[in-house]
Symmetry: C2
Subunit: 613 residues, 2 copies
């Protein structure tokens, strides 16, 4: 039996077609609504609470034993249930809690944007006398918009069809772009505010910033996990998927656009805006993400000579690519440099705006460590294949920076303190927690310089019972079973430390190659910019402790926050940044580390914890 | 029962879905295949012959009595039948005769086109070394196309998706437009010829000229009756239809595009071309036709202040407007000046290219008489609402210039000679026949200067029995019953002559107003250009006789032929004509005759046959 699921979330309502027998959690996931499900929907964690409304019976009998156990009497009474245990049996309305959200870094450097986005609205009144003059409506309107070089040729078919519908005797509201193009005609009247979207299209997380185009102010942000993750957590897996699956590229694009469009709906509903008010979008992302956004296969980036199909600053009418802002809206993609120097890094550069008379280093650590060393006309860049360790990947109890992740860790005289994201029960360790952990283990002398756990007889007494055993090798007990969500120990293994060393080593080697190329050493650096979620959460002292940041640079660290997001906002608001970023592109020399003979040497030299600086 | 109708026409094959019981003629009409049907499909004229192939039985018994009568034994044996009498009873294959076509003027002035259409094809070979350089495919290709200012930003989404499919290790064929835009990428190899279409979109008839873009040569032409005629023969009726019928505008557009696309299919098939080779189209037509082509309502042209939505030289990617040339193809519309000075007149001007140091007059007679008087920087234009008399409309036995129409008429000493289009049995009188008739009647003294038939007692003896009576008033017997297709007399009535006088008077008044505005008289004119089908078929001597052309201009008449078609061809082949026609537009002063107080006076003064010159 078909039935309808109505989902309320903040001020937004979404309608989902369901059939009886569907699992509620599965249904929500299919429609890009990601609830916090530490146990993966296995009915163990009790986190996927939803409130059921307008359904016949919600009696105690229908509850599972887990629900009876984890829900408070008040919750039970108000209709709170667990989505993973709920089976749809008819039309159903649910309310999601406001806190149902994931932690994505959305704040960036403070910036004073130049308001030069190019969208203008003018109300034109054609009096009868004007209209009677030998001319056409389009030409008359163009003539009435002062100071613009608008040519009727630049109106699209959609614009013509809008114009035809209007009463030329009444005011006409004309929206123009870059003083050159007519985006739309509407019957005039009160002009409503105009808004834009800056989108940071990350491999793992996506953020949509709603920006008031009249002030440049950030009104709201909607964040989500990249729904393409279901086809592979890393880009190469997704490219493989797109290559081997029929219509794989189209599928990657479809889920991405569907998720972005849900985000747009939510933002519009939250702020009671009409879609027609959302006239501009600027999108930053790595080169693979921008290819999949356009349903252009990114295969060529994955195989030698790793050449992407495009890197230019492209611009589209929104309906062309399927982004549901205003029909007349424009979407601009930030330019990239190459397959491995994406528009996300370009956005970082726009956000930071490197001082030109000093050497500066930018480090954006995600699955790859993106490194840019720049001064004046020179920008040296490389991408160190660090792997996902800094994002919690390839680590036994690693996880993304979502609720329940241990994000900071302190080990002092045998006393352990850690915090988790959203204060949830510990479920695993995310990147910044990993750095803290390793820094503490080094400081406490539990690890030697090679990263190996010291022999038991050489361990300090404070280690107490924290050194344990994992598959026959020494390991560190991060959080004991009673404290954790799963009721099982969270452990850092020797192998995890090796993974971390490989990631850190790759990044350090990349930095050293760039310094060598520039002919400088660390002391020449004016600033070390740390961008991205990992860079923002990391404790500078611990970054020094693990040798990711040389001690002499500790004072020079500047946290950029979400540089890609900030750059996208700047790009959204200032059309001149297109030419500026084209200039930046020309300055970049990308150094392919794998083709450098000295990379392996630097890599090996960077493995040990004593080699930094 | 559903069945398939397969239609062979010249080298083209068309498949039509049918069901048993369908009338074959009706089915063909529905699919824009117009057979010659003087009797309108009533089973009387025997003209709609088709050859049936691959159908079980075509025995004598199945024939109607008409078929048995009009078809020769050889025809019967070879499967020739009448479409109007044929009922579909299963899958059916038919062959249409080559001569199944309508007479539309497709020839124009001789011209030497400048080959500057802007479409270029370049084969680019990216070697591995080039590809490995830090860049993207799109940029590398742009860099390899010499002498062009191609920016990757100008490639559309379709181009990107093509590029992604190609093997960059093999030659890539790049098609560019105006040295600025990339239209398409294909895997290289042998380059095929490129073709363009010049389209003359008339109210009554449409012509598609297939042009070889490498030589400018006209390869072929496909002509058809404007299928919008089913919604009204004149533009105002069609605008009314579009206003009162739900989705009326869309319907007008749909039938028009369907017919144009059939024409394209026929041309491609006849010359074994691929659609991808047809990369450019230029379209001329009056302002209403160009509005309906784009599915933009032309309503505003029909009501005061008669302002069209657009007149500019617009350009679209072919799929945007639904014209089925190459997917990457571009369609350019010639610019108009106003609702009543359309792109068809602009095309006339381009075709004629008025000498700038002399006064010249252009007369394009269709439903309206379009008149342009020009010298140097001045172009004075007006449109005289002549009505359809010159096209055979509003005339009792009037008809379009299709087979069976009396197109020339000679009356000498009581001897009558006339010719019909395609030599068919006379069915009526078309415009040029009407002019000849009236000229002869005037010369023979059968009409007085006011256009009235002389009293019987004043008639010359040669009139013999040709003066007859129609509804109580005198009339002229043009073709007696035994000679005609219908077996009934074809008659020219007093009312018909009045209609003709009104039409001629309106045009003459228009010409005089323009001359007055310019401050010149007929003697100042260097040339009198006659454009359009009517202008081409008319005998100059008779045009003088009826006072449409002053006697002193008889030697200065230049027949332009299909000026709109010629102008469209020139516009197709030379991109610089866009700017040139924009210049022409600025020079035009359009004179609205209805707003001139002196128009009525001139109109009345022009009614009599003695007032010309």
């Amino acid at each position: 039996m078909k039935c309808q699921l109505t989902v309320h979330y903040r001020n937004s309502v979404k309608f989902i077609e369901a059939k009886s027998g569907d699992n509620l959690l599965g249904l929500l996931r299919e429609h890009n609504i990601d609830l916090t499900t530490p146990c993966g929907g296995g009915g163990r964690c009790g986190k996927c609470k939803v409130k059921l409304l307008k359904q016949g019976g919600c009696s105690e009998q229908e509850m599972t034993s887990l629900e009876r156990e984890v829900l408070s009497p008040a919750e039970k009474k108000s209709g709170i249930r667990l989505a993973c245990r709920t089976v749809v049996s008819g039309d159903l309305t649910i309310v999601l809690e406001d806190k149902t959200k994931i932690a994505v870094l959305t704040s960036g450097l403070q910036f004073e944007p130049r308001l030069n986005h190019g969208i203008k609205r003018v109300t034109v009144m054609l009096d009868q006398a004007t209209r009677a003059v030998q001319s056409d409506l389009l030409q008359q309107i163009c003539d009435r918009i002062e100071g613009d070089d608008l040519r009727p040729e630049k109106v699209g078919l959609a614009g013509l069809k809008q114009l035809e519908q209007l009463d030329p005797g009444k005011p006409i509201l004309v929206t123009t772009y870059r003083d050159q193009e007519i985006l739309s005609f509407e019957q005039g009247g009160a002009e409503k505010g105009l808004y834009g979207l800056a989108i940071d299209l990350g491999t793992t997380t996506i953020a949509l910033f709603l920006i008031d185009l009249s002030s440049g102010e950030e009104i709201d942000v909607y964040t989500l996990l990249n729904p393409q993750q279901r086809f592979g957590v890393d880009l190469i897996s997704r490219i493989n998927y797109s290559r081997t699956e029929s219509k794989g590229v189209a599928k990657l694009t479809r889920v991405l656009l569907a998720a972005l469009n849900v985000g747009i709906d939510v933002l519009l509903t939250r702020h009671s805006l009409k879609r027609g008010q959302l006239l501009l979008a600027a999108i930053a992302g790595n080169t693979v993400m921008l290819h999949t956004l356009l349903a252009v296969s990114a295969q060529s980036i994955a195989i030698a000579p790793f050449t992407p199909v495009f890197t230019a600053a492209l611009e589209f009418k929104a309906p062309e690519i399927g982004l549901k802002i205003a029909t007349a809206g424009m979407v601009k993609l930030l330019p990239a440099v190459s397959g491995y120097f994406g528009a996300d890094l370009m956005a970082d550069l726009l956000a930071i705006d490197f001082p030109v008379d000093q050497w500066n280093l930018l480090l954006d650590i995600g699955t790859n460590g993106e490194i840019i060393l720049g001064k004046g006309e020179r920008l040296l860049a490389c991408s160190a294949a660090a792997g996902p360790a800094f994002e919690g990947g390839n680590i036994s109890w690693g996880m993304a920076a979502v609720p329940g992740a241990i994000s900071s860790y302190c080990f002092n005289q045998g006393q352990v303190h850690y915090t988790t994201i959203a204060g949830a029960k510990a479920r695993g360790i995310c990147g910044s927690g990993l750095v803290d952990l390793i820094a503490e283990l080094l400081k406490a002398g539990l690890l030697d310089n090679t990263g190996a756990f010291r022999n038991k007889d050489k361990l300090p007494a404070t280690a107490g019972g924290l050194i344990t055993d994992y598959k026959g090798r020494p390991a560190f007990l991060v959080a004991p079973a009673p404290e954790t969500a799963s009721g099982e120990d969270i452990i850092l293994t020797q192998q995890d430390i090796r993974e971390f060393q490989l990631a850190r080593g790759a990044i350090m080697a990349g930095i050293k190659i760039l310094l060598k190329e520039a002919g400088i050493d660390f002391s020449a650096l004016a600033h070390l910019y740390l961008a991205g979620g990992f860079g923002n959460y990391i404790e500078p002292a611990n970054a020094v402790a693990i040798g990711l940041v040389p001690a002499l640079l500790a004072e020079k660290v500047v946290k950029v926050g979400n540089g890609a997001g900030t750059g996208a906002k700047l790009y959204l608001l200032d059309q001149d940044l297109k030419d500026y970023s084209d200039e930046l592109r020309k300055k970049v020399t990308y150094i392919e580390l794998s083709s450098r003979k000295d990379f392996q040497t630097e890599f090996i030299n960077s493995m040990n914890f004593c080699t930094s600086g």
